[in-house]
């Protein structure tokens, strides 16, 4: 009885999934390399099966689904206020940002607008979650490429941001703070000054990251000219956020199509783009974006208007019949919710458009023909959270 290649591959895959180690297996037409389902930076569990010819990747196929939790189905049996607790868990490093587009979509359907103070604080928390998310990205980038130092700095300095988020919302990772029509609560006393200090610390961290990592010779050698994504390809795959801007497309939903209910029109900052489209440019854009985000927070902190943080909303929220799609520029890229309401207490259908799903679907395209170590730097630079792929 002869054993076929596909049987061997299935066996290897099963072994690898059980043993949780990286296995290699040689077949007649090259080698199959299984990576995962662990992720070195604990962004979730993604498995990648690469077919190799020597050191070169012939094909590389990500297998998501290890963390699929069926949020789109669950949303159909949760009331609108309850959904935010669910969607918090999509991109767990920038949780608050997940709530906002859903709340904005519900507000749009209901014709409610949050008071200016709530919009301001909402935007501040949105940017704080971006800073927390991307500062950890910079640390994990180092960990994945062999420079551990920056990883420790990132965990140290992200704490300053998480403390500020916790001081307002009570939650470090899952604030569940955004409400239809405003926010759960107002800012605590002394928070504004503390946040200014935290933002300065994060700017220092960015300088450190630039010195230690982005400017590092080895880092540059591993990322420059690796994994180039031309702008047309990026657009047709629906890449968004820093991955799209790293390909030279100037498109930031905060600047170019900001939905109602966020205060981005009141601040001044720069949308960074990089013409190269390689791994380096994507990482560099994220570094610049963290700096810009701290500037946005600083500006907003100084101009918070007075007033209530909650609009008048009915106690039991029924959303009128209709459809709405709202997407915002989340830390990972464009995230949107297509909400269909039938005038009930629960949404009829919620389609969650998460950034990482599109960002990772380009992996088979971008890794064709690269060397094995480049797969790591490309995946690291695309930056995904598995909860954001699998939902």
């Amino acid at each position: 009885m002869t054993v076929t290649d596909s049987q061997k591959l299935a066996y290897v895959a099963a072994q690898a999934a059980d043993a949780r180690v990286n296995l290699e297996f040689e077949t007649d037409d090259g080698m199959t390399l299984n990576m995962g389902p662990q992720h070195p930076a604990t962004h979730g569990t993604l498995r990648i099966i690469a077919k190799l010819d020597g050191e070169q990747v012939v094909s590389c196929e990500p297998l998501p689904g290890y963390m699929h939790r069926g949020y789109e189905k669950l949303c159909e049996v949760r009331t609108y206020p309850q959904v935010t607790a669910l969607v918090n868990r999509i991109d767990w490093l920038g949780s608050f940002a997940n709530e906002v587009p859903f709340i904005l979509a519900a507000e749009e359907l209901m014709g409610i607008e949050a008071p200016p103070r709530a919009q301001h604080i909402r935007t501040i928390l949105f940017e704080l979650s971006r800073v927390a998310n991307i500062s950890l990205f910079l640390g994990d980038l180092g960990i994945q490429l062999g420079g551990l130092t920056i990883g420790f700095y990132a965990f140290r300095d992200r704490e300053h941001v998480l403390n500020q988020i916790e001081a307002v919302t009570g939650g470090r990772f899952h604030p569940n703070f955004d409400r239809i029509g405003g926010l759960k609560d107002d800012l605590p006393k002394g928070w504004i000054a503390e946040t200014h200090t935290a933002m300065q610390k994060l700017r220092d961290f960015c300088n450190q990251a630039e010195d230690l990592l982005i400017g590092n010779e080895i880092f540059q050698a591993r990322t420059r000219g690796v994994g180039i994504i031309p702008p047309e390809v990026a657009l047709s795959y629906g890449l968004s956020g820093p991955n799209l801007r790293g390909s030279g497309v100037e498109w930031d939903l905060r600047k170019h199509a900001c939905p109602k209910g966020l205060a981005y029109d009141k601040v001044d900052w720069k949308v960074w783009t990089h013409p190269d489209g390689d791994s380096f440019s994507r990482c560099w854009i994220r570094l610049q974006e963290t700096r810009e985000a701290t500037k946005i927070v600083d500006q907003l902190l100084d101009t918070i208007p007075a007033g209530p943080v909650m609009a008048k909303v009915p106690r039991i929220i029924k959303v009128p019949e209709g459809e709405a799609y709202v997407e915002t520029e989340n830390p990972l890229g464009a995230m949107g919710y297509y909400v269909v309401s039938k005038g009930d207490l629960v949404p009829f259908r919620v389609k969650i458009r998460s950034a990482s799903f599109n960002n990772v679907s380009i992996v088979p395209w971008v890794t064709r023909g690269v060397l094995v170590p480049d797969v790591i730097s490309i995946l690291a630079s695309l930056y995904f959270i598995l909860g954001d792929i699998d939902r």
């Binding site: 699929h68 795959y237 039991i316 297509y338 269909v340 599109n358």
Partner: protein, 214 residues
């Protein structure tokens, strides 16, 4: 009013699509200053993608998915606990099936969203999927990103995408039966155990003066 110019923008885009697609464009809906929906025939679906991308500047592929418009055949046991508290445990009268913006004739609809960066606007495209032949031509040759979205839609709704290069399951295990996002697929967790969220149903502080007494 600020809505007038953006409204013109969407009318203009709609007219351009109508000119390109002819009879393929079935219905449309504009929410002034906000959004645009169009619905096309199944034959015009692939043409819509290439026209949008190559001629009308909708180059950014946002997402593709489907909607099942069938009212949930499950009674109150699938509803949220707060829903039960408001409406009681009585059986709901079966609601008639209605489709959303831009209409529709079938239970299943595939919808996709594209973005034009030059116009700074998005468009939601819908297509009807007949029950007896649930298939829609693939977009993956025009928008490469549609590949994974169609795989997800296929496993979740059981819609076939002829022409797709690799229509295998994305999330679900290979031997999974059924299409979980269809409305007639029960949420089994609710069946085996009442939702623990019921213990959380308590009046919100500060807001409970009038309603709590009633």
């Amino acid at each position: 009013m600020e809505e007038t110019p953006t409204d013109d923008l969407r009318e203009e885009v709609l007219a351009a699509f109508a000119a390109e697609l002819g009879d393929g464009l079935l219905e449309s809906y504009i929410r002034p200053g906000n959004d645009l929906w169009i619905r096309v025939t199944r034959d015009a679906w692939p043409e819509l993608a290439s026209v949008a991308q190559r001629k009308l500047g909708f180059t950014f592929f946002d997402f593709l998915s489907a909607i099942d418009w069938l009212p949930s055949p499950f009674a109150r046991d699938m509803d949220s606990q707060e829903d039960l508290a408001v409406h009681g445990r009585d059986e709901k009268a079966p609601t008639p099936m209605t489709q959303g913006y831009a209409g529709g004739d079938t239970r299943l609809q595939v919808f996709a969203r594209l973005l034009s960066m030059s116009r700074q606007m998005g468009i939601t495209c819908k297509v009807d999927v007949p029950d007896d032949d649930p298939s829609v031509p693939t977009w993956s040759s025009t928008f490469a990103g549609a590949n994974w979205h169609e795989r997800e839609t296929c496993e979740m709704y059981g819609i076939d995408f002829p022409g797709h290069p690799n229509l295998i399951k994305l999330y679900l295990p290979g031997a999974f039966e059924g299409h979980p996002l269809r409305k007639d697929f029960p949420l089994l967790a609710r069946r085996v155990k009442p939702w623990p969220g019921i213990v959380d149903v308590e009046p919100m502080p500060g807001n409970d003066d009038a309603e709590a007494d009633a």
